[in-house]
Amino acid sequence: MALKTEPFVLNMGPVHPSTHGVFRMRTTLDGEVVVDIEPIFGYLHRGVEKLAEQRTYTGIIPLTDRLDYISSMNNNLAYCLAVEKLAGIKVPERAEYLRVIMAELQRIAAFLIAVGAFLNDCGAFFTPFMYMFREREKIVDLLEMVSGQRLTYNYIRVGGVSQDIPEEFLPALRTFVAQMPGFIDEYDRLLMQNEILLARAKGVGILTREQAINCAASGPVLRASGVKWDIRQADPYSIYDRFEFDIPTGTVGDCYDRYRVRVAEMRQSLRIIQQAMTQLPPGPVKAAVPHLIRPPVGEAYAHLEAPKGELGFYLVSDNSIAPYRCHIRPPSLINLTALRDMVRGWKVADLIVIFGSIDITVGEIDR
């Protein structure tokens, strides 16, 4: 017997455990099947872009920490790259290597959260999340040793990094790089072949190659759809052209592929850290940059491969101590636009899994 149903509007969020922050989805349901969704955001809007117009170029760096707060180093780096491009500042060699090490450590930490939260959404309640937080804690310890803070590092400066690494950092990093592959193997054993996870994630929420390119998705979401696009190799910034690493890609573009790509990228990040660690030259860590930077009139856009995708900073200078305009291209927001294509026709429980597999941070979407 076929029952006649009416479309039903269900609000998920803004305070919902699976929405990774304060994010609301207005879902239209037909029974249990998702017909349409409408993302509603802005609950965490702090006006970062406008605030940036009133601050000095150095004073904006703490603001960028608070965009994607689980990958602060990458945000710092993206902003500093933009200012350096604008002002034509050359960064010392040692600082470049330190930046790469920090950015890659941060990338692993962000992927650990992304994968842990995704598995949590799938129903593996907090066991994998806690295992991954254990390893993230080690990274956070390392970054705390360098910068003095555990979440908002504020470490990378225009023209280098704020201070040199302490002497106990490199031995600790070496221990970490030696230990970490064992733990990634452990995650693989824990859930990679788990039949429940396969049933929940494989073939669910497929984003085709064309759709992914059409909505300008980037990062693991794009790579899982089979597009080999990584800004570290496509448009090398900093000194990424000196390192050897592979770009893991998926084949189908389902939730399982997005999960697999992230785990595979952790290994590649470790490879980069290993190479950067051995090549680390001595020398100064900061170029001679005036306290108040006054870049010449002009505009610059710098982008990099953040854990979530392409993070870009667009700055316009009017030769004053603050930027005339600062625009941020957040990867989470752009990746989120692909959500509607992915979830149509799936059940509500799958919506949670698909949404978790995109890995968003609301601090970055609302800015």
Partner: protein, 165 residues
């Protein structure tokens, strides 16, 4: 979705979980067991050096939040102002450390303590009398390697955990 060998993946995963029984615990029992923080910790109990400070106000200009207030008057000493009022509203402070980085005379330090909750907002404002260094109010090693060398070594989870019991 059909699986031919349903259950083997789950058993493999459970083996990993069971192996964790043989590992050292990761969690520390916080109020009883305290770990050393980073030597460069950016705590919010500021330390201000009365002798070194010249009242130039560079910290005030560097602060992105506008949390530092300084009032100076002319002094008899050469190259120096008398600092009449110097206070930091730590309610606005985001502990970015830019003021410490900007200070040309190394007269301002961030604090080493981290349990600094207050009951009233007024208590968050730190005046220059409060900010003098004392045994109870230690400075962190942020931007001063000399001070960092004297502080205890940071406990790392990396070194705390051994693989097997």
């Amino acid at each position: 979705m059909k699986f031919e060998r349903y259950g083997i993946g789950i058993v493999k995963g459970l083996m990993v979980t069971i192996m964790h029984l043989l590992r050292h615990p990761t969690v520390s029992q916080y109020p009883e067991q305290r770990l050393n923080t980073s030597r460069r910790i950016r705590g919010n109990e500021f330390i201000w050096d009365q002798v070194k400070c010249t009242g130039c106000g560079t910290c005030t200009k560097a602060c992105p939040q506008g949390a530092i207030e300084i009032v100076t008057s002319t002094s008899q000493e050469e190259n120096k102002y008398t600092v009449d009022k110097y206070q930091i509203d730590t309610g606005y402070c985001i502990q970015c450390g830019l003021c410490v980085e900007a200070c040309p005379y190394e007269a301002l330090y961030l604090g080493y303590a981290y349990e600094c909750a207050k009951y009233q907002r007024g208590e968050l404002v730190q005046t220059k009398e409060m900010m003098l260094e004392s045994p109870l109010r230690k400075a962190s090693g942020y931007f001063s390697p000399k001070r960092a060398a004297k502080l205890p070594k940071q406990t790392l989870l990396l070194e705390r955990i051994t693989e097997k019991k």
